[in-house]
């Protein structure tokens, strides 16, 4: 899982130790009660994340079927494997420190233990619910829809679900014996999962890989772009038809909203003027960062074809380059509502887009030459970052992507005015365009040099 996992562990750890004091300082009331109020959303988010990312245990069952195990043993084994999943134990980084702090703050030990055990059972309930509803997209979307509606109606004070669920979680603390209820539910869910699995453990039943009905798409309107169109057609299909690339693009889309953290003043440290540039780069660079940085790994499963077909490296690279640019332009258009926050904010977004197109598009392609991680398109398993994708060279390349524009802006900002800062960053971006052919020749050379290593690395299937 790599960096993504580490990130979540740190966030949970921070919340685990910090939540009590943050709530106390904000004077929201009894920290435990406040946590209980929002617990329903915590569990809801957990469910959504699991559904999207947690790998189901069925994938490795096939080889076990022919071996002399009893079926129930195989089911126990695979369900047991989900128990030690990252998605379960990562919550311990929140609940354990939080419970310890409760104890040090003289909350009744028996009650804290009851609450803690109850929560643990609920997390595991989510685990088995996820096992049961896995791949049932309609259920998921209905659930996610209700969840979003509840969030909205809470925000506008139409209906507050926490008023009903909060007391239920409080009950676990007030009467610790009630912790037995979530455990009973957990046991029932485990039983249900067990039966469900056992009943479906046939190659043509639950173990069958689902195949979606394929539709041939022409996308002939892209033909006018010649060779470039040929590759763009493929890339569009790549994004549409594979789970992993779809996730990357969706994640990239959410980058658009990242600017809200900066421009609404939600986080104080981000208030400095050059953080605006940082935000502008991020807002318009979602696709560039989430999809672009994995070029050429998206094509890893058929890289030998690309390398031996009648394709010049240059065409291949420029098709990826234009894909990134088109996506950045679309993102910029989608981000135009930032003008609501004033011209300076909007200028930051526009300038960020220019820098992304002019400079960062090259940099991600360049960095891509060193990212030799094969991507399994059909699985989301490593969507949250792959530790191999973060080597020293790619990390070094992040500096000019994010911090160089901030420095350039700061120079203009402090020497003359914010206006000059924006202009300077935009000019640097435009300079990137001017030298396109030169830069491309350079990148092509690097790709050629790395070709054999890349081919060999892609051969080692993850």
């Amino acid at each position: 899982m790599g960096l993504g996992a580490l990130y979540f562990i740190l966030v949970f750890l921070g919340l685990g130790f910090g939540a009590y004091f943050m709530i106390e300082e904000a004077e929201l009331g009894d920290p435990l009660r406040v946590v209980n109020t929002f617990m329903i959303y915590y569990l809801g988010f957990d469910m959504v994340f699991r559904y999207m990312l947690q790998k189901m245990p069925v994938t490795n069952i096939k080889p076990l079927l022919y071996l002399p195990f009893r079926k129930s043993q195989v089911v126990y084994y695979s369900l047991g494997k989900t128990i030690v999943s990252f998605f379960n134990w990562t919550h311990a980084f929140f609940f354990i420190p939080f419970s310890i702090i409760l104890l040090t703050k003289d909350y009744a030990p028996a009650s804290v233990i009851g609450w803690h055990l109850g929560m643990m059972a609920l997390i595991y309930c989510n685990n088995f619910i996820n096992v049961l509803v896995n791949n049932k997209d309609t259920i998921f979307y209905v659930f996610a829809g209700i969840f979003v509606l509840l969030g909205i109606s809470q925000n506008y004070a139409w209906f507050d679900i926490t008023a009903y669920t909060g007391p239920l979680f409080d009950l676990l603390y007030d009467i610790p014996a009630t912790a037995i209820v979530p455990w009973a539910i957990l046991l029932a869910l485990f039983g249900a999962s067990f039966n469900y699995f056992k009943k479906n453990m046939f190659l043509d039943g639950g173990l069958a890989t689902k195949t979606t009905e394929a539709k041939t798409e022409d996308l002939d309107w892209l033909n006018r772009f010649g060779n470039l169109g040929t590759f763009l057609k493929n890339d569009i299909k790549l994004i549409k038809r594979n789970k992993r690339s779809r996730t990357a693009v969706i994640m990239g889309f959410f980058f658009i909203f990242y600017g809200l953290l900066f421009f609404t003043g939600a986080i104080e440290v981000y208030d400095g003027p050059f953080w605006r540039i940082f935000a502008g780069i991020f807002v318009t660079g979602g696709f560039l960062f989430s999809f672009g940085q994995y070029v050429p790994s998206w094509d890893s499963s058929y890289y030998p074809l690309m390398m031996s077909q009648n394709i010049q490296y240059k065409e291949y690279l420029s098709s990826k380059y234009y894909l990134i640019i088109i996506a950045t332009i679309i993102t910029t258009i989608l981000s135009s509502w930032y003008i609501y926050f004033g011209w300076e904010v909007f200028a930051a977004v526009l300038v960020g887009a220019i820098y992304n197109i002019g400079i960062n598009a090259y940099l991600v392609l360049w960095g891509g030459a060193y990212v030799k991680t094969p991507i399994d398109l059909t699985s989301n398993k490593k969507a949250f970052g792959d530790k191999q994708a973060f080597n020293a060279k790619t990390l070094l390349l992040t500096l000019p992507k994010l911090f160089l524009p901030m420095v350039i802006y700061a120079i203009g900002h402090f020497l003359v005015s914010p206006m000059l800062g924006y202009i300077l960053v935009a000019v640097v971006g435009l300079l990137g365009f001017v030298f396109k052919n030169k830069v491309f020749a350079l990148i092509e050379k690097i790709y050629k040099k790395e070709k054999y290593k890349t081919l060999a690395a892609y051969k080692q299937k993850s």
């Binding site: 041939t216 493929n234 009648n310 394709i311």
Partner: protein, 231 residues
């Protein structure tokens, strides 16, 4: 057409291929046999510049393959499933290869029509992505794709493996027909001695990376090969 000089490939201290010299004239149907690890796929990968030679080089139609990309327009290959794009339907895949090789849709459709027998109704119009086809059907699609755009050199690694008997027989016909064309050089590797002797006019035996036998195919060739591998 293809000449191999002092070619070797070494991983650490393990030499997997070592060929002093090998000439394949234009239009020849060339068969490569050998046990697992003999170096067949290594030789083909070197031909396609997918791996770097440790020593020596290969020249394909006056182009040294590890120096220039100019061999790509007239060379095509199907080595394994990494030559397929799993998320495309077979039709999309054929048209994609066609576009890369300068053939429009009508050209490709006409070519595919010739292979209707070979496809046996299992490839076109199936509403399936390549990744969801069976191994044998994936192979059929990959082999036919390598014929798109009139390549002068066609490289097929184990084309008969995973195919059903009917398709194997049809494939033999197709390769023979292709080899009969004057200007097409066909390189085929196989574990099936009978198929390869039937299809190829020349057979080279590799063993642990060394070129052991170089036979002009005759009636006795199959016996000779069987004696070699049986002994």
């Amino acid at each position: 057409m293809i000449s191999v000089t002092n070619l070797s490939k070494t991983y650490g201290s393990n030499t997997v291929l070592n060929i002093d010299t090998l000439e394949i004239p234009k239009g020849q149907s060339f068969g490569l046999v050998g046990n697992n690890g003999a170096g067949k796929t290594t030789l083909f990968s070197l031909l396609l510049d997918l791996i770097q030679p440790s020593t020596g080089h290969i020249v394909n139609n006056e182009v040294q393959v590890d120096q220039s990309e100019a061999w790509k327009p007239f060379t095509s290959a199907f080595i394994d499933e990494t030559f397929l794009i799993g998320y495309l339907t077979p039709e999309e895949y054929f048209y994609f290869i066609g576009e890369l090789r300068g053939r429009n849709k009508a050209d490709v459709t006409a070519l595919l029509a010739e292979f209707q027998d070979f496809f046996h109704g299992e490839i076109l119009g199936q509403k399936k992505y390549l990744r969801d086809l069976s191994k044998g059907n994936q192979k059929k699609a990959g082999i036919v794709a390598s014929f798109i755009g009139n390549p002068e050199v066609v490289i097929l690694d184990e084309p008969f493996a995973n195919l059903d008997p009917t398709t194997q027989i049809r494939l033999k016909g197709i390769i023979k027909e292709l080899a009969a064309k004057e200007n097409v050089t066909v390189l085929v590797s196989s574990h099936d001695l009978q198929h390869v002797t039937e299809v190829c006019e020349r057979i080279v035996v590799l063993n642990k990376g060394e070129l052991i036998k170089d036979i002009k195919t005759s009636k006795e060739t199959l016996k000779e090969l069987e004696a070699f591998f049986g002994g």
